[in-house]
Symmetry: D2
């Protein structure tokens, strides 16, 4: 079987402007995520990365047309992502490209555009973070395959409910935090012919993308989000013809 | 209990430009819908109407703030609806206002904006229409309360699958047509604090909005879509604060 | 509108055999629940109670035929509930009677019979209990209407995931506990023409059924679970005829 | 990767007692289904068959423990299936074994036991059958991968709504029939750690299990229903311990 073509997108601003964060992610957040996918999936994937600073943010029509699954990490530069690129990504998702949105990507233009809601949530980031426990509530789900119960993340930013998203297709993980908040931290959606997975663990201040269990979830997510046979079609956002 | 405040919106173009359609809907499509709601719900509702030609399309901030449930019918003038009004409606839906989208409203800006998909479908409108049978697949649902199984609509435009919408929260009705197509014709969604009901039966060329069973469904839909106690909040589309 | 006819069922064993628990619930757990419903819903409900010790456990064909919504609390005497009564309740639920299953009722014969799974969960009951926070994740849901975010219950037994239930129709509440566990504590299902609501807060050792917010949830639940117009039919468990 | 271990179960009564049906399915319905799986999946599967007449109906503890996915076809002999075997199958499904229930298996003991409802439906079988069109309403679903839109089955028994099942996790296919009825003909459920797929096309009087598109759906279904890594556990139906 041909390798899954994966593109890991990261705004890449924290790592290039804040030395403390560059120390945590010397290859960038995208580099850490890409490394995890390559380690776990080997020849099953061909992984490339792209960032905000690249021409067209590294997400040209050609790149998207050759991407089976796109991962998205953004935080402080959501507004700098060109609307044209957002619309291009949306068309490819509707046409069948998988999309995995990570952590603070809940406020990315592409996530809000696909879901239609505010995607707002409750949050808090005390010095040193809080312990997050990630509980699997759907043991039949491919995204949870082989994952420990619970995943223990010693230090994380708190994300809590109410998380303003549409009812997910599948609820896979629910997290708790030291303060007693809960969060639907692993949820899936379908939009058009594309699958979307949102996974909240992972922050620029904590080395979460090196956590073996988090890496396992992302590797599972990539395999789950890839289009099934026959599903991928050319982008068509407002096509009144039968599809 | 105070009456539910309902606004029936209709682009109102067919009836004012095509005599054959004005003959079917002499008070406009909005007039027929409003009449049905008043007949069935009496003092439980206070119904007003609004059209594209009204200032701000009849959907000013003041009107929306006093609307519990908005019904939306549009077809040939989707593009003429101001983006600003669409965004205003979206904010009120996210804040808790109910929204009922009818028939060709599947291609309205507001529906596509709320759902994120293309909302395209398969369609055909032969001379004289086709028989539509509307089957209730969820007898516990308030929207189906007291409705015949199936609803028989002698003449309708055909709408068929694949209907490009997100997975609905509730699937209430599935229709079949003479040609053998099927369609998820009654589906619900939640977005933010608001409820959305899409119901496909109802076309400008056929007197569907005078059908007693269709009127019952719309009356049920209005009651279902009204915000529950405490749900309605001021509009806030991109609010990063905890809500 | 006629009053909703509610039957609160409780095995009633703890209160009649353990003085410490009788001191918490002097009128029985059923008495506390019935009182809360009467206080909040007044003339909208006609509430009766029934217990294991009553003839036919107080759940004769006549009683069930006159019950719109049945609440169920059981814990140490699940096995003493007659299979015949369980089957009778099941038939009425499938015919449209609402069912609200409470706390340790997750292991009742009726709950397991309706859902088909083991309904097992993770649990712990340390001396003095743990703090439970009950978070609303669905602000549009009638069961959550007017309920505080979160509900704070100072002392409770811990129930945690994985909770072995089918995917709920609606997920309304998620709880966290002092130990960091999470639990889908408010979930709904439909079975046949009947609606089912499971709500976990409420234990014999803690005065949870006097908590104003818990009482509000149960009152909302009763209104939600009542059959919609036309839904209730005579019991028919294995009827091969069209229904 | 090791081959998926598939067991195709068929009551096998029609073919052994009715020559007209034996002529359609000379190797039995189970034989036709097994042949289709072997043709499409090759070395990815190891397929065996079992029938009612076998000792323990061919479903001993040893067979089930070595089965990843069980397919079930029954019609006129549901009552002859031993309760003990039904319970054994249920335990394995809850422990992670996949289950695919076919056509008239909607009234099998195992299906009713897993779902909790009556599983009744509307049906009609006129001389020569009716045309069934099977529409894919979920193009992202693995079970629909590579399947034509719609599947056309020239002659079939009619199954129609209301189909008394719980709300499915995923709705994949909706069928229409010549008479205008609709039916949720491809639906999935999860129960415990196991996945269930119900697919209605396929009757003893029509050669549906030789239809290439139906065979494709069943092959996809087997791959979908197989347990994910780590999901399969020893059977435990009423285990109060944390799982």
């Amino acid at each position: 079987m041909a390798a899954l073509r994966v593109t890991v997108w990261n705004e890449g601003v924290h790592e290039t402007t804040q030395p403390a964060i560059a120390a945590i992610y010397p290859e960038g957040i995208h580099g850490a995520i890409a490394e995890g996918l390559r380690d776990l999936l080997g020849e099953e994937v061909a992984v490339r990365t792209a960032t905000l600073a690249d021409p067209e943010h590294g997400l040209s029509e050609a790149v998207l047309a050759e991407t089976d699954v796109l991962l998205w990490w953004g935080h402080i530069a959501h507004d700098q992502v060109a609307d044209e690129v957002v619309e291009r990504v949306r068309e490819h998702v509707l046409g069948g490209m998988g999309l995995i949105v990570l952590h603070s990507g809940h406020f990315s233009k592409i996530f809000i555009r696909m879901l239609g809601t505010t995607c707002s949530l409750r949050w808090r980031n005390p010095e040193g973070g809080e312990r997050e426990l990630v509980w699997n509530v759907n043991p039949t789900h491919p995204i949870a395959a082989g994952v420990e119960q619970p995943i223990v993340i010693e230090a994380q930013e708190m994300y809590g409910e109410f998380f303003d998203i549409p009812t997910p297709d599948d609820l896979v993980f629910i997290s708790s935090f030291t303060g007693g908040e809960v969060f639907r931290s692993g949820v899936t959606f379908t939009r058009g012919r594309g699958k979307i997975f949102y996974f909240s663990p992972g922050d620029q201040e904590y080395p979460v993308y090196f956590h073996p269990q988090v890496r396992r979830v992302l590797a599972n997510g990539v395999q789950w989000a890839a289009p099934v046979a026959g599903a991928r079609v050319a982008p068509a956002v407002s096509n009144p013809q039968p599809i």
